[in-house]
Symmetry: C2
């Protein structure tokens, strides 16, 4: 939808006409998928609040929006798209095609029973899933009254820990099972702190564990059994194993995908003559490595969407790359953890040939004497030879996460650890120490290189 | 003290000996002056909590610390300092001298009566002042029981609004009188919002007003009278007219000062052979303009102090310049305002010859559907020809202020508005909109250039 609207805006400001048709398989557009765990947690009253622009608003802005229309085939030579509505198939031609098919949750092999989907087990992806989960949790709490209702989350990434937060806050005894570590996109020395926080908030945590099968009663989940033979009673199960680019349509039409399975747009968004792609169905260029990477995030999706919208009408805008910046939080009971990363992790930087030097520094988010002060741990990762910043990771209390943006800006500018240590960041007692936690971390690393 | 400790560290790591003597006129060292308003407000239990390192800790680290010792003269030819303790004068020689005499509150001409200082009127600078204010407010609240105790703050800068917050929170009816605008270091379109917040929290605000005289009874202030003839009952009065570099000692010894009255250290901290300076007694180079400016802030003081400490022993470290980054807040009653700026204001940028283009953009600190979302207004200032970022200012609710650091990092790197609009800043619903407020502001400005 970003591409659609930007194309309309670009046409309008150029005094041109453009006809924009959007084919959408579901009944929803322009909603915040990232908001769904907070809806389930109870922070957001309804799914409608997550909708940034309604179908009516899109149409009023000039978009020919076809909901419940599933694209079934594209022909990039003839420039046509075939789509199906209520079982009726039709084909339309295009001058330019934008693929924005997003990503799909990776389906676990244990989620379906021999008789199909198991009750109580459901992915968290779109608004319909959100509504289902809100109802499912309420129904489960009504049904299970002799003990606390029990949930198992499978997967320790962003959605996994956000759903663990939502379930705890909804009164569910919660187990989190993950194949690897919790928040494996952070280095272990910081990521490990998140597991500690989960346990402190009451999550039963199993890292390095895989689910082997579900036990069911009358088509409903009863327990989750791991490969190691552990059995966890479960009234509901959240599979949160990550997502993969939804590119079947393009692959069937002969369009290339990268090693992560996503389309490979050039910086202007083109993937073939007359064909463009944006969003979670794409791999994006990592600004630090120059290599395509899969980062399913609304930030890149929106940016690339607007770039495509401009370039469709002859613009020459270019995507500047991604840094892998990401934040989330885990807030439950007395635990308030904020989690952030940008740039390359130690493993990624090593893979890309850097001689990596790094340091974790403990600090506080505000002057130590202020009531706002909470601990913050900052890891700075740099190249030993060039002193260039490669990445920064943060785990801390309230006020920690958004500090990553200063590091992201420094990475964007290609700055080094001495720049980060010396730059003029802000200070006042309720907000920082005189040397901000980020700068103390950079300075201490700079002193060691 | 930063310079002293860094010199000791540098000597230790070089296997050298250095004798460091510190001459300090008061009985306090290494305390957070910025924390004093929060101590007065009640956030901090005692002045001791504001002390980062005690005299004993300094001495244990090897500093020969002389408290209550006032330097009265220096001779930069003979390399001697004369100082006075309990009326006894003595002279010591040095190899290198570091001037770190700080800044002094600008004394208002109305603060002294014909018989000397007026009771209830006192500056807020050091720990003794803080203790005096804590006692004064308690005594005033005990004494004035037939109505709310009344305070007048004179000055609308950082200390002025922080003291207004402290006084409101201590139950004082508070008037703020300022010659110009509130927070005149921000452009008027953003700075004006702070005045609105002060009034909303119950402050009686007079902008564009000057104090002419005090009315007193038995040596104690009773009212403040402005040049326009308005009379404000006052049990206590805070003069907060800003500070000026305390350079009398050096000027008497023939050392040069700049147009703001501060020493002019080179990027390594030298002001004359064998003489160095750091902290609020200095002007610092503004990284955006290349010109010396007076920014009395702990951030620069600490950075330059460490640089001097290193360079004293032969190091070659250089101060990278200041951006004028500053934040504060005003929190009272239902009002929570965070205030931040970095880089050049519109007036400063125009003075330095830029063809300025700017825009104020309204946003929210979190996704609109989240309970954390509060309004944030962001002003981005750029050069129309080069598109280079010149400054950013922010006024908004909780979670606004620290966003300035990403802008400061972008300014430090010499980035342009397109970089700020396109860079990979962090997003998650509790923390930001998909395009962070800062990026929406940069993007909207970029579209208009």
């Amino acid at each position: 939808m970003s591409a659609a609207h930007q194309a309309l805006r670009a046409a309008r400001s150029a005094g041109r006409e453009v006809a924009v048709t959007v084919i959408e398989a579901t009944d929803h557009t322009s909603y915040s998928a990232c908001g769904i765990p907070y809806w389930i947690a109870g922070d957001v009253a309804s799914g409608e609040e997550l909708v940034a622009r309604t179908a009516e608003e899109h149409r009023a802005a000039g978009v020919d929006l076809r909901l419940g229309a599933r694209a079934t085939a594209i022909d990039v030579e003839d420039r046509t798209v075939t789509h199906e509505v209520d079982g009726v198939s039709s084909t339309m031609s295009y001058d330019d095609l934008v693929l924005a098919t997003g990503a799909s949750p990776i389906p676990p092999d244990w989620a379906c029973g021999p008789d199909g989907p198991v009750g109580g087990v459901h992915a968290v992806k779109n608004l319909d899933d959100g509504a289902l989960w809100v109802d499912l949790l309420a129904a489960t709490a009504r049904r299970v009254t002799d003990r606390a209702p029990r949930a198992v989350v499978v997967g320790g990434g962003y959605i996994g820990i956000e759903m663990a937060e939502a379930l705890l806050r909804r009164g569910f005894s919660t187990t989190l099972i993950t194949r690897g570590r919790v928040m494996g996109s952070l280095d272990e020395d910081l990521g490990g702190r998140i597991g500690v926080g989960l346990v402190e908030a009451g999550v039963e945590l199993r890292t390095g564990a895989t689910v082997e099968r579900l036990e069911t009663t009358e088509g409903r989940v009863e327990a989750v059994v791991t490969a190691a033979g552990e059995r966890f009673t479960a009234d509901v199960v959240v599979p949160a194993l990550g997502v993969e680019p939804a590119t079947a349509l393009g692959r069937a039409a002969g369009l290339a995908v990268g090693s992560h399975g996503g389309y490979l747009p050039d910086p202007g968004g083109r993937i073939a003559p007359g064909v463009w792609a944006a969003g979670d169905c794409c791999e994006v260029e990592h600004r630090m490595s120059g290599r395509p990477t899969f980062l399913a995030l609304g930030t890149h999706a929106n940016k690339l969407g607007r770039i495509v919208g401009d370039n469709l009408l002859g613009g020459d805008r270019r995507f500047g790359g991604a840094l892998g910046t990401a934040i989330t939080r885990f807030v439950a009971g007395s635990v308030h953890l904020e989690i952030a990363r940008t740039g390359l992790s130690t493993a990624e930087a090593t893979t890309h040939g850097h001689d990596v030097v790094s340091l974790v520094t403990e600090g506080t988010t505000a002057s130590g004497y202020m009531p706002e002060a909470t601990p913050i741990a900052t890891k700075v990762i740099a190249d030993r030879q060039t002193r260039r910043l490669l990445g920064v990771q943060i785990v801390g209390g309230e006020g920690s996460a958004k500090r990553i943006d200063a590091a992201a800006a420094a990475l964007w500018g290609g700055l080094d650890v001495d720049d980060l240590a010396g730059m003029d960041l802000s200070y006042a007692p309720p907000f920082a120490t005189v040397w901000d936690a980020l700068q103390i971390a950079a300075r201490r690393l700079a002193e060691r290189i």
